[in-house]
Symmetry: C2
Subunit: 260 residues, 2 copies
């Protein structure tokens, strides 16, 4: 049996994704060798924590790296910053929305997209995070897969079109969902209630779709087409023009979906 | 020290709320005596499971009840059905949106509103469910409180206005959130991906606001006012007029909130 090689990895970036990836790689069987960032303070803090070397110059990248992961903002991925790495390196980025094309000058490139909402304050269990892979050749894909499967039990092979659809879907499932929470917070705050009263409901709403599909568990006035309550709610939202508009639009969509 | 009395309770209804309440009361130190429902089959099934008597006629309610809980639909609470109980009974309903006034013919009445999304298929931990109480006199409130605190660690005293605000907020935090999940499901389904890939993100999005307020953890293209991505997403939604409208409206609201 072939012994699996321990991968030597460098991370470019020191933001949320880089931080969570650094921790996960450190805990894996692979080796975090370098952290490259123009933010030398953050890079040093991360490097110290996870036994790596902090560097601020692409010229000092270890020539024996197996993978360089660009955990950079979408904006940075569209600048010349990413043209300065050794050409023979295996390179990938972590963005859900940026094309793999931005790395095409490198003969060995790919995508390593962890689908999660990261914040520096909160640890996450990386083994539960879906990691979406793509690569320009099977050998690169295999290397990325070797790392991904060591970090997570959920590894997906997606093409660029799928990754973009997924990123868009995540805006609804995560960012817009958080806005719904925020509107709820605003509404109860006006009546002197604390957000804490809503927390168990939010937990259960997310828990329900872990076992069911959302279409199967839609509840509420719109799902019943309960016009009496809907009209009361619209009246109560009179002073919040934007929330009223959201209520109206989302209710219409739910009501229409009853007949699909 | 005064020994606390074991309360003798009857439930009217056999739907989701009645089912979950019956299980919780059965597991409490109080006694579920009767289940009253016109759906005799459901009532009998519940009564058998939780050691109660099934009845289909208000005239056969036990005269020594401490509380009659109307776990009925909002519609039923607006019919004559609820005028047929013994006048001296302590009576409450479980609706978030129906006024306490509907029970005013009874000198001892109140509200026992569990804030949760119930489905018959899924058990919930009742001890985590906020129970919102209101009553027309302190003695009734005390009786409801005695029961509520035995079922849950989260008991709130809300007036009718607060309860209605909370119910409206719950539409956003639960029903509209579930619609966001459903739209996400639709979008990835079109690209041949399974909803399972989104489940960890949904869990984490709900987990984040257990420790933080939603306003503190808003992420995504709108929160960064990332027009490039926003425009790509709007273009990708071209064939879903309603989803595009939702995306546009919610993005506008998030962008505006950045300056508040």
């Amino acid at each position: 049996m072939k012994t699996r090689k321990k991968l030597r990895i460098a991370l470019a970036g020191s933001g949320n994704v880089a931080t969570h990836l650094a921790r996960a790689i450190y805990a894996s069987e692979h080796q975090l060798v370098q952290i490259l960032s123009r933010n030398t303070q953050e890079a040093r803090a991360l490097a110290n924590r996870y036994g790596a070397e902090a560097i601020d110059n692409a010229q000092t990248l270890d020539p024996a790296l197996d993978i360089l992961i660009l955990a950079l903002s979408d904006d940075a991925l569209h600048t010349d910053y990413i043209s300065n790495f050794p050409e023979q390196i295996t390179i990938c980025h972590t963005s859900g929305s940026v094309s793999m094309e931005v790395l095409k000058q490198y003969p060995r490139h790919g995508i390593f997209y962890p689908l999660q909402t990261f914040s520096k304050q909160k640890e996450v269990d990386f083994s539960e995070i879906p990691i979406c892979l793509e690569a320009n050749n099977p050998e690169v894909l295999q290397t990325l897969e070797q790392l991904a499967k060591n970090l997570s039990s959920r590894v997906y092979f997606l093409n660029s079109g799928q990754r973009k659809s997924l990123h868009l879907a995540a805006v609804f499932a995560c960012n817009f969902t958080n806005l719904m929470y925020r509107i709820a917070e605003d509404l109860i705050g006006e009546s002197d209630m604390d957000f804490d009263i809503l927390r168990p409901l939010i937990t259960e709403t997310a828990a329900k779709v872990q076992e069911h599909l959302p279409g199967e568990v839609q509840t509420g006035p719109a799902a019943r087409n309960d016009l009496k309550i809907i009209n009361e709610h619209l009246k109560a939202l009179e002073k919040h023009k934007d929330y009223k508009e959201i209520y109206q639009l989302l209710t219409e969509v739910i009501v229409r979906k009853r007949y699909i």
